[in-house]
């Protein structure tokens, strides 16, 4: 089976089979990362560029090293959105990058839909590394991969997503991805940080943490943006912490083997307590490793060959 899409813009449009295909390809990739010689030649002669219009260290580094483990040539471009506004149009930037010969472009942008715009305007393969409040597909894929590793299945799991759902691309991609596998998805956070008509996506909305965490198998804790407390959407980080911080006390009614995810970087003492972050239930560091594996799988499928090549 080949991955037939030119671009990966989000999980909303992917089928369950396509997602499974990526996740199953990630497993052998993870083995590569654990080897002493962490290099396979599959993408030798291919070139990818990461273009980040928004600060990020882990996602950008993850894509870069994923490409390098597969022997692709990788180049990173960090651009501040403000300088872009004054200068060159995005269309011209894309064209400039394209004519240097890159096969794939990994893009992060603060404005939703920008990867879609780029994809329409280039022959390069475009991978969305996070766009505004829309999607962050590779984050959701690595979250799903981590859950799969620990639970053995995604089917029928109860998953709570906690925090600022309104502004979260991680939440949206997780909702799209997990809902294709029959998970019961609960979102919980302040009512001012809930987007309208979310329940049409088949999720249950909660405002009270204890209700939402009752019996859950997985808790995905979203990072709260510190700047948001000045936008009038919630009164203070202290109040947020008292209502929504994940602590040993708050998870007592979750399943005993509840798995705790966080996309990082964490605000300890705000959305997650150190006791939880450092506990064995949390797999936050493992998620980072899995992120590399999932991105290797994706780069391989999009720029290289079929999964059989790597598994056989």
């Amino acid at each position: 089976m080949k991955f037939e899409r030119k671009d990966l813009l989000g999980l909303r449009d992917l089928t369950k089979e396509e997602i499974e295909h990526i996740l199953y390809t990630a497993a052998p990739m993870k083995d590569v990362i654990k080897r002493d010689i962490k290099k396979v030649p599959t993408l030798r002669g291919k070139a990818m560029v990461t273009v980040f219009y928004e600060p990020s260290t882990r996602t950008r580094t993850s894509f870069e090293i994923a490409g390098k483990y597969l022997s692709a040539d990788t180049v990173n471009l960090t651009v501040s959105t403000s300088s872009v506004k004054k200068g060159e149009s995005l269309k011209d930037t894309i064209k400039t990058i394209e004519v240097m010969g890159f096969d794939a472009m990994v893009v992060r942008h603060s404005m939703s839909g920008t990867p879609h715009y780029i994809a329409r305007n280039t022959n390069m393969r475009v991978i969305n590394a996070g766009d505004g409040a829309n999607e962050h597909p590779t984050q959701a894929l690595l979250d799903m991969f981590s859950i799969l590793e620990h639970k053995g299945t995604l089917q029928g799991l109860k998953v709570a997503i906690v925090g600022d759902i309104l502004h979260s691309r991680v939440a949206r991609s997780n909702i799209y991805g997990l809902s294709k596998f029959g998970c019961e998805i609960r979102v919980v956070g302040p009512s001012t940080l809930m987007p309208p008509e979310l329940e049409k996506l088949g999720v249950k909305t909660y405002y009270h943490l204890d209700e939402a965490l009752d019996g859950v198998d997985v808790i995905n804790v979203l990072r709260i943006q510190r700047e948001r407390q000045h936008t009038g959407l919630f009164p203070s980080l202290d109040e947020y912490a008292s209502l929504y911080m994940i602590t040993p006390e708050r998870i007592r009614n979750a399943q005993d083997d509840v798995l705790i995810l966080h996309p990082g970087p964490m605000n300890r003492g705000v959305e997650i307590s150190s006791e939880i972050a450092d506990s064995t239930r949390a797999v936050i560091n493992e998620q980072v490793t899995n992120g590399v594996a999932v991105r290797m799988a994706l780069l391989f499928l999009m720029m290289g060959g079929s999964r059989d090549e790597i598994t056989n």
């Binding site: 909303r12 506004k85 149009s89 995005l90 269309k91 942008h109 404005m111 939703s112 839909g113 920008t114 879609h116 715009y117 766009d131 505004g132 409040a133 829309n134 999607e135 691309r169 949206r172 987007p195 309208p196 008509e197 979310l198 049409k200 996506l201």
Partner: protein
């Protein structure tokens, strides 16, 4: 110069006419057929199978001149209007400089008289520089030919200024055209707030951003006795507020655009900025409410809010793109499709482009009454065409209708007895 439009179906709501008959034009004016015995010296336009209407009026258009001629000017904008079957446009004052004084208004009137292909009636600003702080010289604007005042593009946020505007314009019988948008509620919004803003991850503009201001302006119209005209209404709540206000006898009128009457927020999922407009494309329930409002008389007229933009301000990131749709050349065809779908009667549609806006503005247009200036719009109800912005006369190619196949197009536009388009294309230089 004598012209005879022969064999068409005449729809003239002001005179209660909706049947097959001929229309005569003599020296730029409509003439009664009674008493004309010899038609041999008339130039004949064969309107067989066509619909002959009073010239259509679009009272909400951005011609961009002076100041933004790279987006549009009076020549290109009035050519677009003519091609779209519109014989009279009212142009909004958000130009540079703003039409907030008689000199700029006179400039527009003069330019339009010399270079415009259709009638151009300027709208003056409510406040100086459209800053919302001090009233413009509204009396002088009226003397220079303005038919209404508006700060369109910007709401008048200060309630006391809007109160004074409604009070002051009463003296001139002038409507205040209000762009209803609470800026704080709408801040940074890109599209309608609802299901699709949730799944597209774009910041939403709640319906309340429009409705709280519409409610405020209705209350101020009641207080002052002034005439408020609510621009480009897009929500069920606005329709309901205005419907009730009309029942209560408040002097309120309103308008709706073809795009708000036919398109929904789902379209934004392409992240193609040609779908970005303010107020935003709303969800189906709001579109349905607008159609109800058209049919029950709550909505007085159809306008385009023609907002031409330069390519670069649309071909970019969705958040950075300008708001607005270039609508003059698709307006009538889009509404003919509402007629085709049975959502609007032909007579009603024609009235929304003719008597409707004429009554809002209190101007002597929108009828085929003999003696009136001979402005006529002829529609071919059978003509089918795919919307191709590359064919637009407007400099603004930003159409949310591009690629759509529409049936029923304006084919001939006559302005003051001059035939300016044939088969939808401009014939005079």
């Amino acid at each position: 110069m004598k012209l005879l439009i022969r064999g068409g179906k005449v729809v003239d709501p002001a005179n209660g006419i909706n049947d097959g008959r001929d229309v005569a034009i003599i020296d730029g004016k409509l003439a009664g057929l009674n008493g004309i015995s010899d038609l041999s010296d008339f130039q004949v336009i064969d309107a067989t199978g066509k619909i002959v209407c009073p010239g259509f009026i679009d009272m909400h258009v951005h011609l961009r001149e002076p100041g933004f001629e790279y987006k549009e000017d009076i020549v290109t904008g009035t050519r677009a209007a003519a091609a779209g079957g519109i014989t009279t446009v009212c142009c909004m004052p958000n130009t540079e400089p703003v039409i907030d004084n008689a000199a700029v208004a006179s400039f527009v009137v003069d330019r339009a008289r010399k270079a415009g292909l259709v009638n151009v009636l300027p709208i003056g600003a409510i406040t100086k520089k459209q800053e919302g702080n001090e009233l413009s010289e509204i009396g002088e604007l009226v003397s220079a030919g303005c038919v209404a005042v508006s700060d369109d593009g910007k709401p008048v946020m200060k309630a006391d200024i809007m109160r004074n505007a409604l009070d002051y314009t009463k003296m001139f019988g002038l409507p205040v055209l209000s762009h209803c948008e609470d800026l704080a509620l709408a801040a940074d919004g890109q599209m309608h707030e609802g299901y699709y803003s949730t799944i597209y991850g774009l910041k939403g503009i709640p319906t309340a951003a429009e409705e709280v201001m519409a409610a405020r302006d209705i209350i101020l119209a009641r207080l002052t006795g002034g005439h408020v005209h609510i621009c480009h209404i897009s929500t069920r709540g606005s329709v309901e507020l205005i419907r009730q206000a009309k029942k209560d006898g408040i002097k309120v009128t309103c308008e709706a655009t073809p795009h708000h009457l036919t398109l929904t927020d789902e379209l934004v999922g392409s992240y193609d900025a040609d779908t970005k407009v303010n107020p935003p494309l709303r969800s189906t329930e709001h579109v349905e409410a607008l159609l109800e409002g058209l049919n029950d008389g709550t909505i007085d007229c159809i306008v385009t809010d023609h907002a031409p933009h330069h390519l670069e301000s649309k071909d970019c990131e969705y958040n950075l793109a300008a708001f607005g749709i270039s609508g003059l050349e698709t307006s009538v065809a889009v509404c003919m499709n509402l007629v085709n779908q049975g959502k609007l009667s032909l007579e009603k549609m024609v009235s929304l482009y003719t008597t409707g806006p004429a009554n809002v503005l209190g101007i002597d247009k929108g009828t085929l009454t003999p003696g009136m200036a001979a402005d006529v719009t002829i529609i071919d109800p059978e003509k089918v065409k795919i919307v191709d912005p590359a064919e637009f006369y407007s400099r603004g190619k930003n159409s949310a209708f591009k690629g759509m196949k529409l049936k029923g197009w304006p084919v001939t536009t006559i302005v003051a007895g001059n035939v300016v388009t044939e088969n939808g294309r401009i014939v005079t230089p």
